[in-house]
C-alpha cells in the first residue's frame, strides 16, 4: 500500500473550488490526482464536483479536464481513449494518456449506467471513479439508485406513511465486475492509502477499471462538516461499506472488520436517518441492518472469508 512520503507534494486538484465545507468529494479528487502517474485527462460528469470546480473562468484542475454532460462520462472517455490510440498509431501522438472518468452516483447508478456498461464491454483502457454520496446532492438531495433503504431525501422524504426510501442500494461493483473487467474496487476516503493504491492499480491495468468510493456529504446526509471522515470511517467499521476489490474476477476483502460496530452508530450521526429512530419505524433500522449483514456475508464469502 502507498505511503504518505511516496505521494507527490504537488496538488493537481487545487484549493479555491466551491465544494461545501467538509465535502468528501473534494478530498477524493485531491487524493485521486495524487495517484496520477503522467499525462492525464479527466472526464467529469455533471454533478457536484463538476459545477463546484470549474466555474468559468476558474478551474481547480491542473490536468486536462473535460465535462460534456451528465450521463455520458464513460462514453466521452471512450472517445478520448480511442482517439489517442489512433493518433499514436499514426505517429501523431507519442505518449500514453491516462483517462479518468469521474461521476457521482446519479451519473453512474442511474442516468449513466448504459454508457458505463457500453464502455466496460468495449474494453477501453480507462479508470472510472464513482464518488457516491448516495443521492443527487448537487440538485438538492434527491434519491438515486445508490440511496440506502430508509434514507430521507427530497424525493423519498421521511413521510408519515413511507419513512424514507423503501428500496435498497444497487450493487454497482457486482454489475461492473459482471462485465469481466480487469479491476473493480470499493473504497472509503477515510482509508486514504487503500484508496490511492486502488487508483494507482486502476490506472495500471490495461482495460477498464472501476472504483466505487463512498463520499460523505455533510449537506445531504446531514451531519456536521467536521465529521466527514468519521462518517466515512464508520461506514466501513459498521460493515455498511465493505472495502474490497475484484481483480480478474477474484474477490479480495481489503479491510477486515472482525468486530463491527452496530449500524446505528453510522445512522445516528446522520440527519437523513433521524426519522428511523422513532419507535414506529424501528423495523426499518432492522431491515437496513439485515441488508448490511446479508451484503457483508455475500461479499465476505466471495472473498473467501468467513463472515
Amino acid at each position: 500500500m502507498v505511503r504518505l512520503n511516496e505521494l507527490p507534494v504537488e496538488e493537481l486538484f487545487t484549493s479555491g473550488h466551491r465544494l461545501c465545507a467538509g465535502c468528501g468529494a473534494g478530498t477524493i479528487m485531491r487524493m485521486t490526482l495524487k495517484a496520477a502517474r503522467g499525462p492525464t485527462v479527466v472526464v467529469n460528469a455533471t454533478g457536484c464536483v463538476e459545477v463546484a470546480s470549474t466555474i468559468y473562468p476558474y478551474t481547480s484542475w491542473k490536468v486536462s479536464w473535460v465535462h460534456v454532460a451528465f450521463e455520458n462520462a464513460a462514453a466521452v472517455a471512450s472517445g478520448i481513449e480511442a482517439a489517442y490510440k489512433a493518433l499514436r498509431r499514426k505517429g501523431l501522438w507519442d505518449k500514453h494518456v491516462d483517462v479518468i472518468a469521474i461521476a457521482g452516483d446519479g451519473g453512474t447508478f442511474d442516468i449513466g449506467i448504459q454508457a458505463l456498461s457500453g464502455a466496460l464491454e468495449r474494453g477501453h483502457d480507462f479508470l472510472y471513479i464513482c464518488y457516491d454520496n448516495e443521492a443527487y446532492m448537487n440538485t438538492g438531495i434527491q434519491r438515486s439508485g445508490a440511496t440506502p433503504h430508509g434514507a430521507a431525501t427530497t424525493t423519498s422524504p421521511a413521510g408519515r406513511r413511507i419513512p424514507g426510501k423503501p428500496e435498497f442500494k444497487k450493487d454497482l461493483i457486482g454489475i461492473c465486475a459482471a462485465h469481466g473487467i480487469e479491476y473493480a474496487a470499493t473504497a472509503s476516503p477515510a482509508y486514504w492509502n487503500d484508496y490511492i493504491t486502488k487508483v494507482q492499480r486502476g490506472l495500471e491495468v490495461e482495460g477498464p477499471a472501476v472504483i466505487h468510493v463512498f463520499s460523505p456529504c455533510p449537506l445531504g446526509m446531514r451531519f456536521d462538516s467536521s465529521k466527514s471522515m468519521e462518517v466515512a470511517r464508520l461506514a466501513v467499521q459498521t460493515r455498511y461499506w465493505p472495502v474490497y476489490e475484484v481483480e480478474k474476477g477474484k474477490y479480495k476483502l481489503n479491510i477486515k472488520v472482525p468486530q463491527p460496530k452496530p449500524l446505528v452508530d453510522f445512522l445516528k450521526i446522520q440527519g437523513r436517518f433521524s426519522h428511523l429512530f422513532q419507535p414506529e419505524f424501528q423495523h426499518e433500522i432492522e431491515a437496513l441492518q439485515r441488508w448490511v449483514d446479508e451484503n457483508w456475508s455475500r461479499i465476505a464469502s466471495l472473498c473467501g472469508e468467513t463472515a
Binding site: 478551474t59 486536462s64 479536464w65 466521452v76 482517439a83 501522438w93
Partner: protein, 393 residues
C-alpha cells in the same frame, strides 16, 4: 484521374469518409443509415483505413465519444438517422458548443410515432437550431462531394463547428447511382490532416466544458453565431477549391432556370432533382419556371436566396417535415423571413408539406405545384398558404 463507380448514397458517404483519413468513427446502426456504419466497420476491420471504430451502445454515446475524440485533435465522423438523431439531440448542442468539427452523415428518416423507417426531414429539422452546419444532398455524387468538403469546412479555424450531410432515407441512401470518385491521393491533397487549434493535450492542460453562469454563457453563444456567419465564406472558399480539383461546382445553393423565372419551387434534397426535371418539361411548354435548391440549410443562405429569387413573383416552398402549430414549416419560415428582411415581402409564397414517412412525390404533383404557382403569379392571389401534397384528407 477520377473514376466512375456505382454507389448508393450510404456507400458514397462511407467511401468518402474512407478517403478522408479519419481517426475515430463512433456510430450506432439505424435504418436507413446502417450500411454506412457496416461499410466503415468493414474498412476498419480489413485495415483499409487507419482509424478506431468505437461501436457504441447508443447514438447518445456515439456523439459523446465523438466529442471526446474531437477534443484530442482527432478527425472524427459519425452517422445516424431519425430516432438516433433525436437521441443525440442533447449532444448536438454540446458538439457545437464545444466547437468540435465533427462530420456526420444523416440518412433522413421520419420520426416516431407512429413508427416509420422511410425518408423525410423531420429528424434534422427537429434539430435545426442545434448550431451545426447542415447540408442537403440531391444525389449520391453530391453526398460524396460534400462529405469531403465538410471536413475542410468544419475544421477551418474560422469555423470549428460540426456539420451534417443529409441524404434522403432510402431514396438516396439505398439507390445505386453513378458516382465520380477521386483518387485517394487527390483527396489527401485537397484535405490535409486536421490542424487543431486547441486540444486537451495533457502537457498543456485546459478545462473544457466548464460551468458558465449568466456572466459568460451569452458571449459563448454569441461566438457560435459569429462562427456560423464566418462559415458562409469558408464554405464558398472550399467550394471553389473543390471545383478546381474536380470541376464540380458547389455553392450555398443551386439554381435551375432562375434567370428569368416567373415562379420557383424551393426544395431541399432529392426532390429538387424531380423539380428540375419537371421544370425542364414546363420550360419546353413555354412556362417560365425555375428551381432553387439550398445545398446549405444552416447557415441559411438568405442573401444568395434573395439573389436567386430575382424577379420571380411566386414561390412554392416544399417542406418534407412538419412544424406542428407553426405558421409555416421550417424551410418556408426561413424563406419568408429572408424575403421580409430584404424588403421583398411582396413576393407571393405558399408552403407545401409533402412526402412525410416516405410518401412519394411524383412529377405530376410537382407539375401541379408549378401550375399553381404560375396561377398565383398571374392573379396575385394565394388561395392556400399551406398545403399538404398527396395526403388523404
Amino acid at each position: 484521374m477520377a473514376k466512375v463507380i456505382g454507389l448508393t448514397g450510404n456507400e458514397a458517404i462511407a467511401y468518402a469518409v474512407k478517403q478522408c483519413d479519419v481517426d475515430v468513427i463512433a456510430a450506432y446502426p439505424i435504418t436507413p443509415q446502417t450500411i454506412m456504419v457496416e461499410l466503415l466497420s468493414e474498412y476498419v476491420y480489413n485495415g483499409e483505413i487507419n482509424a478506431e471504430f468505437v461501436c457504441v451502445e447508443s447514438e447518445h454515446s456515439a456523439l459523446s465519444a465523438c466529442v471526446g475524440a474531437s477534443l484530442t485533435g482527432a478527425r472524427v465522423f459519425t452517422a445516424t438517422a431519425s430516432q438516433g438523431l433525436a437521441l443525440m439531440h442533447e449532444m448536438l448542442y454540446v458538439a457545437s458548443g464545444l466547437r468540435c468539427p465533427i462530420v456526420m452523415g444523416v440518412a433522413n428518416r421520419a420520426l416516431s410515432a407512429p413508427l416509420n423507417i422511410h425518408g423525410d426531414h423531420s429528424d434534422m429539422m427537429g434539430s435545426r437550431d442545434c448550431g451545426w452546419m447542415q447540408v442537403y444532398a440531391e444525389n449520391a455524387q453530391e453526398a460524396y462531394d460534400w462529405i469531403i468538403q465538410s471536413f475542410k469546412i468544419a475544421e477551418d479555424c474560422r469555423v470549428l463547428l460540426p456539420i451534417s450531410v443529409n441524404i434522403d432515407g432510402f431514396i438516396l441512401s439505398h439507390s445505386m447511382e453513378r458516382v465520380e470518385v477521386l483518387e485517394d491521393e487527390d483527396v489527401s491533397r485537397f484535405l490535409p490532416p486536421r490542424k487543431p487549434v486547441i486540444t486537451i493535450d495533457p502537457a498543456k492542460p485546459i478545462t473544457v466544458g466548464a460551468l458558465c453562469l449568466p456572466d459568460y454563457y451569452f458571449e459563448m453563444k454569441r461566438q457560435q453565431v459569429h462562427a456560423l456567419n464566418e462559415s458562409y465564406n469558408v464554405i464558398r472558399e472550399v467550394n471553389r477549391d473543390f471545383e478546381s480539383f474536380t470541376g464540380r461546382k458547389y455553392d450555398l445553393l443551386e439554381t435551375y432556370e432562375m434567370s428569368d423565372a416567373d415562379v420557383a419551387i424551393i426544395s431541399l434534397g432529392s426532390t429538387a432533382g424531380t423539380a428540375k426535371a419537371v421544370a425542364r418539361d414546363l420550360r419546353s411548354e413555354g412556362k417560365k419556371v425555375g428551381v432553387i435548391k439550398p445545398w446549405v440549410y444552416r447557415p441559411f443562405p438568405e442573401e444568395d436566396l434573395i439573389k436567386a429569387v430575382g424577379d420571380a413573383e411566386a414561390l412554392a416552398v416544399l417542406d418534407r417535415a412538419c412544424s406542428f402549430g407553426a405558421p409555416f414549416n421550417a424551410l418556408c419560415s426561413d424563406v419568408v423571413a429572408a424575403l421580409y428582411r430584404y424588403g421583398k415581402s411582396s413576393v407571393k409564397v405558399f408552403n407545401c408539406v409533402y412526402g412525410l414517412g416516405g410518401r412519394d412525390i411524383t412529377p405530376t404533383d410537382i407539375r401541379a405545384i408549378f401550375n399553381e404557382a404560375l396561377e398565383v403569379a398571374k392573379t396575385g392571389i394565394v388561395k392556400e398558404q399551406l398545403e399538404f401534397i398527396g395526403v388523404r384528407e
